[in-house]
């Protein structure tokens, strides 16, 4: 009874958030003359898109590291699998020749869009339907490929102890990166070159006949997909399986003695986490409009790990919050640190290219050392608590 009420509230809150995003994205066309920050070119939207993508990856990492206690550093590898799966399946047959020109075309000389286009048509509403359904299918397949590889690699590595698991998964990601750069597989992966020409977030903007954007959805789409995925992860965490994961994190021996099969539950968590990392990889490819193996280095994994730490290991809302803060700082708010600044004739010291990342890493070290709980610890921002507090305030006023 009470639980249902909370769920409804949560759903309503998510719907409101998505509505706000659509409004925000189109506000400059509705109300002209707003400050630049609301224009579609504003860094605000870059931050929102990137953070939407990263928050999913951070939450998926938290599922593994924070909720199951498996310290894995393979996230970039699974993102790579997702990104490439999406890219390979979605480059239209017409562009394949051009993208794979070094290898004389692609071994898979079609795309999901082409196949669906044969059913729904390629222009107008039919074209839109085939693109939307195509994207959904490709994103799910991206997750499945990542999940499948996690399943394979899980057999050897999930038996390893904490830090060995970390280094083995890191190594696995590096191996994947090498394989995807191998020229011999160029017909599939385009070797070390990037794959581009597939639908991106801006493909979802609705345009008129002349190509003018009528309704922009390029920020809404990553938000929608990430939200759906994160809600699924939260539902998992709050289910019987999520509780079993936490019991493994707290005490493996006790979990096993209480009938929880360690290996199958670790595997489950690993596969699901990797599935969503794969989805995140596909979204990342859509965000940067290309897929290239050299982007998915261990530094990317470290970055995501640090986001998780800042948010609080074991808190989903913490991870999401930390992602938005992290991305906003690195892409927008702290940008000024990278450019030289003069006040009158006085040159502010230190400010030049690269200083932002130095400040950033120092802040991260301070958090790691002195605020090891992160922003949220293991707590969640709970809607129920927010509502209760506000309703209590109301009561007090009355």
């Amino acid at each position: 009874m009470k639980q249902k009420k909370i769920n409804l509230r949560a759903l309503a809150a998510i719907a409101v958030m998505l509505l706000i995003i659509i409004l925000l994205e189109n506000i400059s066309s509705i109300i002209p003359g707003l400050p630049q920050v609301f224009w579609p070119t504003s860094p605000l939207f870059t931050v929102l898109k990137k953070a939407a993508v990263y928050s999913l990856v951070a939450v998926s990492m938290n599922l593994l590291n924070g909720f199951t206690g498996l310290f894995s550093l393979g996230q970039a590898g699974f993102m790579l699998l997702g990104a490439y799966t999406y890219a390979i399946l979605m480059v239209p047959a017409a562009s394949k020749e051009q993208v794979y020109y070094l290898f004389g075309g692609c071994a898979f000389n079609s795309s999901i869009i082409d196949i669906l286009g044969g059913i729904f048509g390629t222009t107008g509403v039919g074209g839109a339907i085939s693109m939307i359904i195509g994207c959904i299918i490709a994103i799910i397949l991206a997750g499945c490929v990542a999940g499948f590889f996690a399943y394979l690699i899980g057999f050897p590595v999930l038996r390893l102890k904490s830090d060995y698991l970390a280094i083995a998964t890191l190594g696995f990601a590096e191996i994947l990166r090498a394989i995807f750069q191998w020229q011999k597989l160029g017909k599939i992966t385009n070797g070390a070159n990037m794959i581009k020409g597939f639908p991106t977030f801006s493909s979802f903007n609705i345009t008129d006949g002349a190509g003018h954007e009528i309704v922009r959805l390029s920020t809404f789409v990553p938000f929608l997909i990430s939200t759906v995925c994160i809600v699924i992860i939260v539902l998992l965490i709050n289910s019987s399986y999520g509780r079993a994961f936490k019991s493994i994190r707290d005490d493996e021996v006790a979990a096993e003695a209480m009938g929880i099969n360690l290996f199958s539950h670790k595997m489950l968590s690993f596969v699901i986490s990797s599935f969503f990392a794969g989805v995140g990889g596909a979204l990342f490819a859509m965000y940067v409009a290309n897929a290239q193996a050299k982007a998915f280095t261990s530094v990317m994994t470290y970055e995501i790990l640090l986001i998780v730490v800042i948010g609080g290991i074991g808190s989903v809302s913490g991870s999401v919050l930390a992602t938005f803060l992290y991305v906003a700082c690195s892409e927008w708010w702290l940008r000024f640190l990278d450019s030289e600044l003069y006040i009158g004739s006085f040159k502010v010291p230190f400010l030049r290219n690269g200083f932002r990342m130095v400040v950033f890493s120092i802040v991260i070290m301070v958090i790691v050392l002195f605020f090891s709980q992160g922003i949220m610890g293991e707590k969640e921002i709970s809607l129920a608590a927010l509502f209760d507090r506000s309703s209590r305030k109301k009561e007090r006023k009355e």
Binding site: K246, A254, A255, M258
Partner: protein, 282 residues
């Protein structure tokens, strides 16, 4: 009545150290049986063999008449093996279930040094133990197709907590409970796995005399209520003599005596083994 549990020629050897030596014992159904012995006698090791934490080097364990664990020394272990009956099980297949499989068969345990899940509430600690037998899969769990099952688990958990008098603490962190209640919670958690046999590893450790008396009464109650067989390890002689129907005494891994409490109390070897040791234990 038959035997709930039977250990047959169980030997556990770590490298060159024989921790349990050719131990054979029977735990009769619906009885409370105790395994006692001085520190380092191999009691917990024997428990760990039963619950699948260790794989015994040699021997067989039967539960409800069915063999569940069986091994014989092979390879390197065969060369260094110091125990007896090495050939007895050589022809039979090796059985080496994981602890969760053992629990699934209906053997539940508590730990000597309490092992509750520390970041979770009292309620969740018991609820998780119900996970194994729940009829659900990961999809039905995520998309809430298992609401009826979830509801049943929650109700049963609440019922268990009420019986143990822990319902008032249900939303508190398990580690915030006083020591005696933590022990009780561990027993409640073990009961949540629907066991037929309950293994208690020093349930009275760290308890005062009053708590110990209550514990004895409590163990008897749950035995009757859930139709359990109880097998326990204990240092606390008062408790053991008070509640046990039958006692096995081991020292240096081997059995030195067995019998009903009266017999064991008067056994000369037991008194010798315990001399100086029980005093230290207090």
């Amino acid at each position: 009545m038959g035997n709930a549990l039977r250990l047959e020629n169980i030997t556990m050897q770590f490298g060159g150290v024989v921790s349990v030596n050719n131990l054979t014992l029977d735990v009769e159904e619906h009885k409370i049986t105790a395994l006692i012995g001085p520190n380092g006698a191999g009691k917990t090791t024997a428990f760990n063999c039963i619950t699948g934490v260790y794989q015994p080097t040699n021997g067989q364990i039967e539960f409800m008449g069915q063999p569940i664990v069986r091994n014989h020394p092979t390879g390197k272990a065969a060369k260094t093996y110091k125990g007896e009956n090495a050939d007895k099980y050589a022809k039979d297949a090796v059985l080496s279930p994981t602890p969760d499989q053992i629990t699934g068969l209906g053997i539940a345990r508590t730990f000597q040094n309490i092992r509750l899940w520390k970041s979770m509430t009292v309620f969740d600690n018991v609820l998780i133990a119900k996970h194994q037998h729940a009829k659900q899969n990961v999809f039905s769990a995520i998309f809430r197709g298992n609401m009826a099952e979830e509801k049943r688990m929650r109700e049963e958990t609440m019922e268990l907590l009420k019986e143990q008098g822990l319902d008032a603490y249900k939303d508190e962190l398990a580690v915030s409970l006083p020591y005696g209640l933590q022990r009780r919670l561990e027993i409640a958690r073990a009961l949540a796995t629907n066991p037929k046999l309950l293994l208690l590893d020093e349930p009275a450790a760290g308890m005062n005399p009053q708590e110990t008396i209550e514990l004895a009464e409590f163990v008897r109650q749950i035995r009757d209520k859930y139709d359990l067989t109880v097998f326990l390890i204990e240092h606390h002689m008062d408790l053991v003599m008070n509640i046990s129907d039958y006692i096995y005494v081991i020292d240096f891994g081997s059995e030195i005596a067995q019998g009903v409490p009266k017999e064991v109390q008067q056994n000369q070897r037991v008194i010798e083994a315990y001399l100086g040791v029980t005093e230290e234990e207090g």
